[in-house]
Symmetry: C2
Subunit: 377 residues, 2 copies
């Protein structure tokens, strides 16, 4: 395919695969799509290792990196300089609540073990900036940012190196602000998406953003994100004005993915209605598979969710313990197993290879287009 | 176009227009689409008049009727036989709250004037059944039902007369139940839709429902509803597996529509984020333009929303008073003006004729398909 997005990023088929797993990134890019490594959970040193591995295995195919540099920091945590200080601000009530919830499902943990963090990892501005520097040292063909306007440093450095900057948005106004700031690609993400998301659906958001950019004289390509699990849906969003698809959840059900077997089983079983948009994992609204964790944090008796990044310093170690408990044979703990996933989880009915998913997308895309064409005849 | 839906209903272009306004129904059907009159707000006698008018003006073009026979009745109102009894059950607290809210915006009403109802009108099983009988006396080519499984009487009568029965659903499981009950067309409506809706987005729901019906061996066409305001979006949903589009909000911004000038102004100004899914108008979750009404009923200090149909006996007269106040020059009351509308309101930027909307849809549809086709080359 030959459109603005393909030309900007060097991909053959504009299927962008966001994944925290380097194997998925490599497999997708080698199959003609475009892998994007989600960097958030890594320290800058770990990210360096991941990207070096990708460079070694990707055979020169184009790939990108997604970092999170939050534009605004919650006033409740603005005064803390590092994760050690942030950890201290997490109340005994929150620690007790978390330990109590895990204990209820047979996951042993005491309140003073609840909070954990690794070096600079996590969704903080300092980690985001450090990751950005690492990313720019590698032959990336895209750098993406979410949670607000892409930082000026990212846009300037992208321009200097000829690397397009993509920004994720969930509303028309945000797309216009990003365009004015100078980003090269808008990823418009609907409320059905996994992870951080807004409330407007992909089907409405795509034409709304495309139209608003055009009216503002901004000739910027838009990728559609949120709910896209098949090539037919990708074709649908391109019919609605997008120049490609940005996907995440579909890669979680691949053999290469970082997801656990317990979570993959849950994905295959889940319906589209089994997700929830909740602050209980990162501190900002993010869609994920709904479990007792979310019911507890969002329900009565909850101490209230914590601001980003404190919530992640509580939730991430908790979910690691939960996964470990399941592996060690604790069947009760399965009820808590969760991860970021969109409503599209209802369309997952098997685990495939990442390469196979790209091939399926291509075939479904072509079939959908031919099917539509035949309707005009 | 020639697909199962066109053959079942006799329409030329499978664009279904749900409207409470007979003029819209006639204009759409005459332009090659398919008008569907929403019957809920009429008494059976009024519906008879509306349909007689349509028969006289539609030049034999096919049209349909949409009734609401709620499958389940809230236990709080199950014992009441008619609207007079229901009205008595509305508490003084709810009457005071409503009057207080309207008074705050300069709309004069005393608590004992708050509740109003007209004969058998409203979303009640008895009105739904009476409307169904009226509808079947006219040369309709479709009868649609929402809020649960289509009643057995409707399905039997539809089969006897060769009139297809359509059912609106917001989840895969509901589609399977409707199919098992014998409906002929599934309208799968995403959470971005105006009016009663679920939470799964249209983009995810369409392939999920299409796939589930196929897996169940049910060869039933699916119409896509929710967020569709353009022919490009219609093409998109047909690429994703639908056989046509079911639309509502887009007709509210036509010159023929029943909407007030105040509401049309608000629609043109609104963004997709300006709607809310709330129980505060009918008692069941329905998407509508968000105003101070919804903030008050869904916020702190609210007495809580009432069950269907009690909520409508409070809200409908209130919204009539609000509209009247605006017409009489009360500018404050504009803040409360609202109506059922989907997130697609963000794509409304002008008021057009209903015929013009159908023509635009056809052109946009063809352009979108040709655009997609050129990508494959």
């Amino acid at each position: 395919m030959d459109n603005a997005v393909c030309r900007l990023t060097g991909c053959e088929f504009p299927l962008f695969a966001f994944s925290h797993c380097r194997d998925v990134v490599v497999a997708v890019s080698k199959a003609g799509g475009f892998g994007v490594l989600g960097a958030t959970r890594f320290t800058p040193e770990q990210l360096e290792e991941e990207l070096a591995w990708i460079d070694e295995h990707i055979d020169g195919a184009p790939y990108g990196v997604d970092v999170l540099v939050p534009e605004t920091v919650d006033p409740r945590v603005a005064d803390f300089a590092d994760n050690a200080q942030r950890a201290e601000a997490i109340s005994a009530q929150h620690r007790d609540f978390t330990a109590g919830l895990l204990n209820q499902y047979g996951v042993a943990v005491s309140p003073d073990e609840v909070v954990r963090y690794e070096g600079r990892a996590g969704i903080t501005p300092e980690n985001g900036f450090a990751q950005m520097e690492v990313a720019f040292r590698h032959p990336i063909r895209l750098i993406a940012n979410a949670l607000g306007i892409a930082p000026a440093e990212m846009i300037a450095e992208g321009k200097r190196r000829g690397i397009p900057v993509a920004a994720l948005v969930g509303a028309k106004e945000h797309a216009l602000r990003q365009a004015a700031a100078g980003v090269d690609i808008i990823v418009a993400q609907g409320g059905e998406a996994g992870g951080h998301c807004g409330e407007v659906s992909t089907l409405v958001l795509i034409p709304e953003v495309v139209r608003a950019l055009k009216a503002a004289g901004q000739d910027i390509p838009v990728l559609a994100a949120g709910g896209i699990m098949t090539g037919a849906q990708m074709a649908a969003m391109m019919a609605a004005g997008a120049q490609g698809a940005w996907t995440g959840s579909v890669w979680l059900a691949t053999t290469e993915a970082e997801t656990s077997e317990a979570f993959r089983d849950k994905m295959v079983a889940a319906r589209s209605r089994d997700t929830v948009r909740s602050r209980s994992r990162t501190g900002k609204p993010a869609r994920q598979l709904k479990t007792a964790w979310h019911e507890a944090w969002d329900g009565e008796g909850s101490p209230g969710t914590l601001p980003m990044p404190l919530m992640g310093m509580v939730s991430e170690p908790a979910f690691q313990r939960i996964e470990k408990a399941v592996i060690n044979g604790n069947e009760e703990a399965r009820a808590l197993v969760s991860y970021f996933v969109g409503q599209g989880v209802g369309l997952i009915d098997q685990v495939r290879s990442a390469k196979g998913v790209v091939q399926d997308f291509r075939e479904e895309f072509a079939e959908a287009v031919l099917g539509l064409t035949s309707m005009l005849e």
